[in-house]
Amino acid sequence: MNILAWKNLLHDRVRLVVTLTGIVFALVLIAVQFGMFLGFLDTSANIVEHNTADLWISAPGIPHVNGGSPIAESKRWKAMQVPGVANAVSFTLFFLNWKLPNGAFESCQIAGFDLDSGMGAPWDIVAGNIEDLRGEDTVFVDDLYKKKLGVTKIGDTLELNSKRARVVGFTHGIRSFTTAPYVFTSFKNAQTYMRLRESETVFILVRTKPGADLQQVKAGLLAAVPGVEVFTRQEMLSRTQNYWVFGTGAGTTTLMGAILGLLVGIVVVAQTIYAATIDHLKEFGTLKAMGATNGQIYQVIILQSILAAVMGYALGISIALFVVNSTTNTDLLIKLPWQVAIGIFGLTLFMCMSASLLSIRKATTIDPAMVFRG
């Protein structure tokens, strides 16, 4: 019976193309929309995710990591005295204006970090030496934003908040969820660019001692450092992701797109698989008349849908991977981890098999006497 499933699928090339197009369309739509959603989650809080700090101290009531406001740097010394704290350093993240060579302005976010601890340092460095950031007026930018920032090479000098900024290195793939790219520099340089007083910072990043209880340290910090809010890394990550991805509606829209893709996919696949089964209704009637059981008919229909799912998945995931790869060097991140790729395979099987189940009823309730009616 398996040969009937296989050959029914392959015999009518036009029908096969229509069926596979339906599956591929649905699959690419789901993969790309969901990949964009994952990309949004990633880019919205990458600055937190890649930060090695265990706890973040900020001004109270900040909506997300990009919305901090200055606090006294002296709080860092109080934090250092809390039991379980191994280190506490200053960190800034703030929106500033970047002046392009043609005189126009672009918005950017300056990330000023402590070079000694490395907390808040850039990652995926592709050119330059991080130690060069100890020099005055030095910055790292991401090579995806070279054009946007008017930068071509190491050594280019531009203006950041009306002060000189010399590019000494590049990262690759540190995307920003907003339209303002990250510019990394030392905390000291950041204070200058932001025109902060020497006694001010935006965040205090805390690294705990090995084995310390994070919640206990957090409680100790809240008790010892007045007028601040303290977040664990996960809390800051969630707050930032929730704000950008769901609060702005961008993520909800993308997630809705993925869900719609799934629904459209189910409908398209159901329609094509259903039509493919109905096309063979007379053959199933003949099989039944000749003694095939309903179970044997199910087997043919389900196998047909599994084969269509496997073929559609192979094509669809290839196209989705192509789309993902084609965005590697753009500021749009579409993520397609292998776990998601496997999940989509399961989803494709589910879509095709559910669609075939709809038509199974039609096929197994055929009156076998139809074969005598011509």
Binding site: M1, I3, L4, K7, N8, L10, H11, D12, K282, E283, T286, L287, K288, A289, M290, G291, A292, T293, Q296, P368, A369, V371, F372, R373, G374
Partner: protein, 233 residues
Amino acid sequence: MQNLVTVTNLVKTYGTAPNEVHALCGASLEIRAGEVLVLMGPSGSGKTTLISILGGILTATSGSVQIAGREIVGLPEKELPKIRKDLFGFIFQGFNLFPALTAQENVAIMCKLKGVKNPNAAAKELLESVGLGSKLRSYPSDLSGGQKQRVAIARALAGDPQIILADEPTAALDSVSGRNVLEIMSGLARNRNRAVVIVTHDPRVLEYCDRIIHIEDGRVGHEEVRNNLEAVA
């Protein structure tokens, strides 16, 4: 000649009162091994209903159909596929071949369904027996009407069933192909002692049959004995 099928007082009613239609009204007949039996009658007389009930495809309202001593009227629905598979071979007016399968695959799939060992080899042998040894890899779309019906005959022979039920097997065929198919079918009865039941309007069939039963208004009408059935018996 041995009675293979005994039909007694068979009734089939479609619908419910007052709109019920009586397709069969107490039909009784016997089918014997080794004979070609033709069921003739005008359209709507109940021929197709009768052959469908005989083949376990349709359930009767009342009456009895005993096949090789086994009563099939009243059997649960789920037992009927096995009856159809084990006892019958079917030949249809429209051939009903699977267009995606080659001639050999069309026959092999039925051999497999019927549990024949080495279905591909059995299919090849059956196709050779109907003169289609050179068309094993041909698809139905590449075959003439006569060749398609011969593939259908080979398929009906899969598993060596005791009874072949054929519905208008020559209706779609030209005279040469029609005769060819009828020769094969009558050969099955003569040489393999199978019962061949043909529902037809085609007068060409008459010269190949042993008995003709006329069905009129759901009843068995008069019966004609042809050829040398009595001598065979």
